[in-house]
């Protein structure tokens, strides 16, 4: 969808909540004066300015459901040699101000009413925009059948674990499947190993129902799964991808 041209201004946003999601992930919620509502899957640009004037800018997926006033939530994973994430995770406090602009993007988005069935495939912190879709769906009381197949290294790495369990327990057509790629805890009842074609066949919706797929994770994850889906007969024009990963040098 092409939206009318509105210049994206940088907004000052006051941090109102910092929430620990797991040992390396936090959600930062800020209130941005002038924020207009977003759609699930959209992004926000965050800009940090050092005392010497040096600026760093990153794009983050918006984590909180639409219709949340001027609140903007981002979920940040620690990357030890990162330039932005250590600041956001270690230095930022409630009451601090950051600069942001958005909402941005109209490709990797889903809104209640867009239909489905939905197949959401998350690798690691790629779950963030998909969580936003699930929150939007639950908030709207939308009953689109949806399956989230969520790949994490270990159960310690799972983000939004309790909230996902709660959403899945609502019995409103949301099916949650975890897979762990690097360990199998005792009494684990989910899947283990990388998401492959048999796993997609076990959990994916009927291809005849023309499902919409959203795949978000590291580049190898996204490429492997997009290929699996096409090979399994999922409609290619209904597969949307977003690659998360380490931002690299301009090459």
């Amino acid at each position: 969808m092409i939206e009318a041209g509105r210049r994206l201004e940088w907004l000052n946003a006051r941090v109102i909540e910092v929430r620990v999601e797991n040992f390396q992930v936090k959600t930062i919620v800020s209130e941005a004066s002038g924020w207009t509502d977003h759609a699930a899957g959209q992004h926000v640009d965050i800009r940090l300015t050092a005392p010497d004037g040096y600026q760093a800018q990153r794009s983050y997926s918006i984590a909180n459901a639409p219709g949340d006033g001027q609140r903007v939530g981002i979920t940040v994973q620690r990357v030890d040699n990162g330039e932005v994430s250590p600041f956001l995770l270690d230095e930022l406090r409630v009451g601090d101000t950051i600069e942001l602009r958005g909402p941005i993007g109209g490709y990797f988005t889903w809104e209640p009413g867009d239909g489905g069935p939905l197949l959401l495939l998350a690798g690691g912190s790629g779950v963030v925009p998909l969580m936003c879709m699930l929150r939007a769906r639950a908030k709207a009381g939308d009953l689109t059948p949806v399956t989230l197949l969520y790949s994490s290294r270990s159960d310690r790495h799972i983000i939004y674990r309790e909230e996902l369990d709660r959403l899945a327990a609502a019995g409103d057509g949301f099916t949650l499947v975890h897979t762990l790629t690097h360990e199998r805890p005792e009494r684990w009842i989910g899947e283990t190993g990388l998401i492959d074609r048999p796993m997609l066949e076990r959990h994916g919706p009927d291809r005849g129902a023309n499902p919409q797929s959203f795949v978000c994770g590291p580049t190898p994850f996204v490429e492997a799964i997009a290929n699996h889906l096409v090979a399994l007969g999922y409609p290619g024009d209904r597969i949307k991808t977003e690659r998360f990963g380490p931002s690299g040098d301009v090459k």
Partner: protein
């Protein structure tokens, strides 16, 4: 350089491009000059630095778009693209 778990495809470039374009180009269909791959701009591979971004073709890795913000001017180089198609709302 730095590593962050952030979007690494065209989705990450849309904020910067909005400094120049009046509309969001995520769904613009672009055609690679080198290999003729056609698809949404959002699917291009993102390489970003402090001042500039490069978007590459996910099929052949050719540079499709360069965007540089020097502070004084915005510089756009789309030699790597054969065509950019932007649908109107609802079309």
């Amino acid at each position: 350089m730095m590593e962050e778990n952030v979007p690494m495809d065209g989705n990450a470039a849309m904020g910067r491009l909005r400094d120049l374009f009046a509309v969001d180009l995520s769904n613009a269909t672009v055609t690679c000059e080198t290999c003729d791959r056609e698809g949404p701009l959002a699917e291009l591979l993102f390489y970003g630095g402090p001042v500039g971004i490069v978007l590459r073709c996910p099929a052949c890795d050719a540079v499709n778009l360069r965007f540089l913000d020097t502070g004084r001017a915005l510089n756009l180089d789309v030699r790597g693209l054969k065509r950019v198609r932007v649908g109107r709302t609802g079309a």
